[in-house]
Structures are given as structure tokens and as C-alpha cells.
Symmetry: C2
């Protein structure tokens, strides 16, 4: 079997997760990692894989079937994506929801021109959650879709608590509200604001001499971030913090509560994720979709695509006949 | 907007659910129902829709964009499918898992020859559950997939309890085992037989003079059906039976428990359905996929397909640009 030749552009948490996910896919081979840092300073899981400078990436056009972009959505991808789509078949996890149409166009033009395929916004939200929102609405047009996030580490809110005087270390988790979820699952079709759907929980290590009540009060009354939410603040010691709060869990729920038939019978679809590591899971989704990109390029497809355009069977290393026999 | 012209072949519970689902889809129009019964004896939800004899279906080739087959998998579809695939673009819910490859071939040849598209085995299992099994395995190749069914009415087991002497009325529900599900969700990767994953619950109305303990004992010791399962038997009166046990609920869970990264971090995907009516939900899935079939035929695609071959965006009445803006 000829392995699909994959490369990674950008080596942070997502790039590292991607390297690990490729290792678990026998039909693929990681041919290299590209970084803007000094290649000698980048340490991979597998030290036999070469690290190259991003500046030299044009030289490797004939060596890479699919390039997985592992940069951030804020500044990396808007800058790198259109350029790299003119050189390679690419997959990325662009996740600034409001800017997806604009970014789609920015990739579509160079990809079309170069005869390449560019698959954007792959991961779980956008990604698998989007697919489940679509399935729910298309199958049960009469109904409501609810997305709950968590339990998950929120980077922005964790940064906010860490800026408070008296906080030595801190993390914030967003949790789906159990009572709101129960109402949705029950087919009540409630109208819910984001803050009614979620609660917030903080784990804080106090700085020497800091007052717990003062810190707690500063957190729970912080406008925009916490004031509108049901927020719990827990104080722990540094050792517990390091042992229990250094991973990056996330997840959430997409629930479609709809009605069918002449008598409007209740029907509920639910998709959920409980992720031990957010970046490693996003990476796993990227790698499966890289396989789909490779198959589509074999059929000569070009231009920009999203997960909505990809037939699910393309994600699997199995043949269509195998899938029908084993998985249908 | 030109509506998609849909017709239904076979009008039992599934056909009736399909009629209702089409009514909730403004981009579609039900142009007729075909039945093997005397058309005058078939009573639709909407009495303005014409009912025709199945014998005359060939005459309507120019009036139907997609024909939805609502017959049973045991004898109707194997007989009707290949014939109708030579005349129409079709969708069906063939659900005899072991015979899918054979049935696929039986549709593929006539559909190819006639330039038609035939989409088979659409519904929730096979169907949405199959898609979730595929996503789970493709994204997390290292892991296990678990399918649990229920809470659902089991026709075969209900028939079995009704044959017992002393049973006036009876139904049987299959339930997923909460303890087995908890182990799976917890990432324990247990090895589980079907009987370890499910429990059974019966609701029985006793015939006059029948002894409850004798009936209960006959049920829980019945080989193949109940003896290997944890079975609960409840005795109720006829009025309660009719009020609470005449609908056709079903559902279930597909859980992928996998591992990612260099340290094998636990990642769990879960998809579940809680269906007030099994046939109405299957019908809703059929109707969404009928839309996809219509779009694919516009692009000239022919031959047999399964849900694995269908890009999810095709299920929605929205344009690709709308989907990217609103649903990604």
C-alpha cells in the first residue's frame, strides 16, 4: 500500500496532536513538520521526522499529498491559508465562526487557480458539531437545536481570573447546565440564552497573603465574564492544581429536539463529546479529513470545501464495499 | 421555487410517516402514493393526494423526481427495489444488515443501466447509527465502538409474550443497561455481549383467571428470548395498556471510546436517539435523503449509493453558502 504523505505546518499543541494521530493511521506517513521557529529548537514526539523552516516550504510541493495547517485562527491561518492553498492540498481547523464565509473565499480562489483542494474549519466546533446541527435540522425541520459546551477549559476566562490580584494560579471550566439540558432532552423546546445553558467553575491557587473572599467576589462580579453566570470558585493548593488542572479537557452537546408526524410526536437527537484533550481530538478529526482530501484530489476535485461537502465514507481507510459490509 | 416531486411506494406506518415528513418540507410536494391494495381502500392524512395502484407505476415515470420505497425489508424491498430502480430515482430503508452488499448489487445494475440513482438502507440503524460508527472509527482508530438499543418496543419479543397462555395483551421493551453504559462512557473499554448491554421489560394484561406468578415465570425463563437477560415483568390493566403502550418508541446509543496522543488520552463520542415514533423518525430521515438524491441526479450521478456516499450538506434545503454562514 502506498501511504498518504502528510506534512504539518505549525507545531504547537495541535501540531503535536496531529503528529500522534498520524502515527495511529497506518495508511499515512508524516514526511515533515514546518515551523516558523528555528527547526533545531522544535522537538517532535518522533525524532526521526525532519523539521523544516516554513520559509522553505515551496521546495516540498512534490513530496506532500496533504498539508495539515496547525496554526491559530486569529492571525496564523488568515495569513498562511491562502498562500499555502496555492501550493498544496490543505486541511485546517479555522474556527472563527463569523469569518468562515470570508475565509472560504480567500482559500477558494488560489486553490482553484492552482488545481488544489482546501478543506477548512475541520474539528469539532466547527466540524462534528456543525454536522450534527445540520443533520438535526434537515431531518426534523420542525424543532430547535441546542449547543452546550463543556465540561471544558476556557482559555479566555482562565486568563481573566489569572489577571486578578491575589491569584497565583487559576483555571476556569465552562459546564453545561444540567437543569437546562434536562429541559431540552425532555422535549420542552425552551428558549435559552448562552448564560442560561452554562455554569462556570474556577480553581484558584491564592498568592501568599491574599484574601479568599475578596478574590471570590472579584471573580463572580466580573462583568461580561462571570457576572451573568452561576459561578463557583474553589480554592486549592499549588500541588493539587498541577496534578489535576494541567490537561485540556473539553466537550459538549448538540441536541435537536423536533417533532414528526401528523400528531407532532417528540423526537430527540443528541451528539456529545467528552474529550480528555481538546487539541488532540481536533487533530484526530483533521487527520481523518486529510484522508478524505487525498481521495478527492485523486478524482481531480479542486477549490475550497467544508465538512458539509465531504461524503463520510471518504474519512475511512476502508473501501466502500468494506464499509457497506462491516459498518452499515 | 420548483418543488421536488416525491411519490411513496407502500403505505403502512412508514409510508404514513413519510407523507407527514414531506408535509413539513416546503421544498417538496407529494404527487402520489402507490399501493398494492385497492387504492379506494387507502386513506391518507391528506385526502387530496391521489392513490394509485402499484401495477400502474410505470406510467408515472415523468411525474416523479424521487420515489420513496416504504415496504418491508423481508420480502417487499428485495422484490420491488431492483424493478423500481430501473424506472425511478429511489430511496429505501432496507435494514437486513447481513444482506446489504447483495441488495446493493441488485439495485446498482438496473439503476446504472437506466441512468437512475438508488440510495439504500437509509434510516437510523442502518443510517445515522452507521454514520456515527464510521466517524468514531475513522477519527479514533484506536478504540472500541458500542451500539446500545432502546428504550424501544421490540416486535418479535412482544409477539412472543402474547403467545403465552394467560396473557391477554402484552408488549416488551428493550432497554440499554445503565451499568454497561456507565462503564463504556467511563472509558473502560469493556468487552460486552448483546445480553450484557440490554435489559428487558414487559407490560402484561392478564387474561381472566390467569396466575401472575406462572406467567412471569414462563416469560423470564423463555429460552433465547428472555432467559439470558435481566427481565422485569409488570402487570397492568387493559385501560392503562391502551393509554400508555400503543405508541412505537425506540432509540439507542452509539458510543466510541477511543484514545489519542502519545499518552493515549481518553476521548468519548456519543450519539443517541430518543424517538417517540420509530417509523415517523425513519420516514423523516428518508425524506431528507430524498432531497440529496434529487440534487445528485441533477449532477448526472447514477447507480447505487449508501449514506456513506452522501455529503451531509445535500440533505439540507439551504445552499452551500447559507450552510457555511449559518450552520458551520
Amino acid at each position: 500500500m502506498t501511504q498518504i504523505r502528510i506534512a504539518i505546518a505549525g507545531y504547537g499543541n495541535l501540531g503535536r496532536g496531529t503528529e500522534a494521530a498520524i502515527k495511529k493511521s497506518p495508511d499515512m506517513r508524516l514526511v515533515g513538520v514546518f515551523s516558523r521557529r528555528d527547526p533545531a529548537s522544535v522537538s517532535l514526539i518522533d525524532s526521526t521526522v525532519p523539521v523544516y523552516s516554513m520559509d522553505d516550504i515551496e521546495q516540498y510541493q512534490n513530496d506532500i499529498d496533504v498539508l495539515i495547517l496547525c496554526g491559530g485562527s486569529k492571525s496564523d491561518l488568515p495569513e498562511q491559508g491562502p498562500y499555502l492553498a496555492s501550493l498544496f492540498n490543505i486541511v485546517d481547523s479555522f474556527d472563527t465562526h463569523a469569518k468562515i464565509p470570508e475565509y472560504f473565499s480567500a482559500l477558494d480562489t488560489p486553490a482553484q487557480k492552482a488545481g488544489k483542494l482546501a478543506l477548512l474549519s475541520v474539528g469539532w466546533d466547527p466540524g462534528l458539531f456543525s454536522l450534527n446541527r445540520l443533520f438535526g435540522e434537515a431531518i426534523l425541520p420542525q424543532g430547535e437545536t441546542y449547543t452546550f459546551w463543556g465540561k471544558g477549559l476556557s482559555q479566555g476566562h482562565s486568563d481573566a481570573v489569572r489577571r486578578i490580584e491575589g491569584v497565583k494560579s487559576g483555571v476556569q471550566y465552562t459546564l453545561p447546565s444540567e437543569s437546562a439540558m434536562a429541559r431540552v432532552r425532555n422535549g420542552e423546546l425552551p428558549q435559552l440564552e448562552t448564560r442560561e445553558k452554562h455554569t462556570r467553575e474556577c480553581f484558584i491557587v491564592l498568592a501568599d497573603g491574599a484574601d479568599a473572599d475578596t478574590v471570590r467576589n472579584t471573580i463572580v462580579t466580573m462583568p461580561d465574564y462571570f457576572a451573568d453566570y452561576d459561578t463557583t470558585v474553589n480554592f486549592i493548593d499549588q500541588q493539587t492544581f498541577e496534578a489535576e488542572h494541567s490537561s485540556m479537557p473539553h466537550g459538549g452537546f448538540v441536541i435537536r429536539s423536533g417533532e414528526s408526524g401528523a400528531d407532532n410526536t417528540s423526537q430527540v437527537l443528541e451528539f456529545s463529546l467528552k474529550l480528555g484533550s481538546n487539541p488532540e481530538f481536533t487533530a484526530s478529526v483533521l487527520v481523518a479529513y486529510a484522508r478524505a482530501v487525498h481521495k478527492l484530489t485523486q478524482n481531480g476535485e479542486t477549490g475550497a470545501r467544508t465538512v458539509f461537502d465531504i461524503a463520510p465514507g471518504l474519512l475511512s481507510p476502508k473501501t466502500p464495499a468494506q464499509l457497506r459490509k462491516e459498518m452499515l
